[in-house]
Symmetry: C2
Subunit: 339 residues, 2 copies
């Protein structure tokens, strides 16, 4: 059997099972946004690693070097945010074809450095090496979280509300537009915003920390694969089902306008991926507190659905309450990609 037949999720699951480790210091191993291990009496250590490969996770045609560096950092920051953690240290390995110029390396590292500094993260290590052809960027982000504040994927209960920060689908729309437009200048300011959402996403670190500090979330994940795929991760880890009301899913003015001409592209908000927003569940009684957080941090926190019994599965409902027939695979790495 080859990988492409099995799909990434199944593969990861299979491997995770095989390596399930039980040790008093390991709170959460494979199967969450970051690993959670005991650091000291009061805090957990968080660690996440990501690898970006040219022509799979990014294309130099569509990503300026500087932004590539920023985005590599953002992806890892987002994983720490999804645990409710504070990011601390970063290591970056970069594999480069010998033909790459020093200017490229400088721009790439400038992007890495600036994004890390924005979040008070210190670059403390890494290495460089050559590649036969593709650029590969591997990031390791460390973080910390007080023991009573960590948020896993596995704590959702039937009846919890489902929330999402920010707006979804802009990143996928941005990628689509950029590919279609090629080198042509994008004049529409809304579409420009969508492109920026794709090339320079904003990880929700402040938001994750605040939600954790106030103990508002029962489960949390960042949306990298797409809303439905990532909601399925929460559902699976928490052994529950979920329903999402499609008309509640928050989208930007740009995407709203786009959908008028391309109605099927509502799917970009449901399974477009790379939003790097936080998807979390919370008890209904905490709704007022979440409104306060939303106001304080000046970010939309939208109630988009509810956790249901496991037997119901994960569903997206239209305005009539009918389940949409979704052949949703999200950002499935081993299947055919749109790129």
């Amino acid at each position: 059997m080859q990988i492409k037949e099995l799909g990434e999720l199944a593969l990861i699951k299979k491997l995770a099972e095989q390596f399930a480790t039980s040790h008093p210091r390991v709170i959460k191993g494979i199967g969450d946004d970051a690993s959670v291990t005991i650091q000291d009496e009061s805090q957990y250590l968080l660690c996440t690693t990501d690898t970006l490969v040219e022509d799979i996770h990014f294309s130099l045609k569509h990503t300026p070097f500087y932004n590539l560096g920023r985005k590599a950092v953002s992806i890892s920051l987002s994983d720490i945010a999804a645990m409710g953690g504070t990011p601390t240290f970063l290591l970056v390995s970069i594999i480069l074809p010998a033909s790459v110029t020093i200017d490229f390396v400088n721009l790439l590292y400038r992007g890495i450095k600036e994004k890390a500094e924005e979040f008070d993260v210190k670059l403390i290590g890494g290495n460089t090496s050559s590649s036969p052809d593709k650029i590969i960027i591997s990031t390791t982000m460390l973080g910390e979280v007080f023991k009573d504040r960590v948020i896993l994927r596995e704590g959702a209960s039937v009846g919890d509300n489902i929330y999402v920060t920010g707006r979804l689908g802009d990143s996928a729309l941005g990628m689509k537009i950029w590919k279609e437009k090629g080198d042509n200048i994008i004049t529409d300011p809304f579409l420009k915003d969508a492109v920026m959402a794709h090339i320079d996403p904003c990880p929700r670190v402040r938001e994750g920390i605040k939600i954790a500090e106030k103990k508002l979330a029962t489960a949390m994940i960042d949306i990298s694969d797409g809303l439905i795929s990532d909601l399925r991760h929460i559902a699976e880890q928490s052994a529950v089902g979920a329903k999402v009301w499609v008309e509640k899913v928050p989208v930007s003015t740009g995407l709203k306008r786009w959908i008028l001409d391309h109605p099927q592209d509502i799917m970009l908000a449901l399974n477009g991926g790379e939003d790097y927003e936080l998807l979390f569940t919370a008890s209904d009684k905490d709704a007022p507190k979440l409104e306060t957080v939303s106001r304080e941090l000046d970010i939309a926190i939208t109630h988009i659905g509810e956790i249901a019994p496991k037997i119901n599965g994960v569903n997206v409902l239209n305005e009539k309450g009918e389940a949409l027939n979704l052949a949703i695979e999200g950002f499935e790495h081993f299947k055919q990609r749109q790129e």
Copy 2:
């Protein structure tokens, strides 16, 4: 200017300078075998990341899948060993072409798991993704060391002795033999040992811990690039020079016999790379204690040279005390490789 003109070492140095970070919690950032940050009152956290790329760092023609997994772990273990640390947790990202079989993935992970278990290291995270063509394995190893025991590259002083564990050059010889022999069976037991040294090196974790515990080393590094290249790292970080007596460099019986017919291959011991032995400096007064460690752990610890003033540079001397004229580049990733 392109990378290949500059060379990896210069590039890393340039970038390290650019990112030199000063923060009370960062004891050592870029420029050692692992990063060193303050974990709690008594211990430092160590972190190292390595990326192995098919056809650069390994070839599937010469590396069985199972051993590839083991070696990926060993390389990171060796980095923690070089700090005098105890390895704790491992994260592995694997990028696979869609054509790879599940059998491959299982063998690879079995190798990873078994090597990690040998050193009581827990696999706690990672991810998998697809690749356009090459297999890429990225490891992140965490470790710990008591604050008063960490060994950096920068503590060597003029007059210190230079030591190395084990024997050097077998890995490079093994790679050479394997490439020459192709699929032919290697019958010579000594040459078989050399091949095993290449495909399944033994990281010197126990040795590093013991040397750190007894506070015997003033500076330490693992030999991944080659003896002379790695000695130059110590010399540079410690602002000293060094001399090595070529006839003292420990080599296996297999390599000794090989050198009889291929005298120039003494260079395999000096700059072959991938030995994963520990290279360290120590005060002369600690020589008897090192003999005890050598006996207790049943491993050769050989006095191969002395730290000299910086102005003298790094030299390898022959039996007459003459400096060899070495055009040594070690395992220089951005230059032409022998593979």
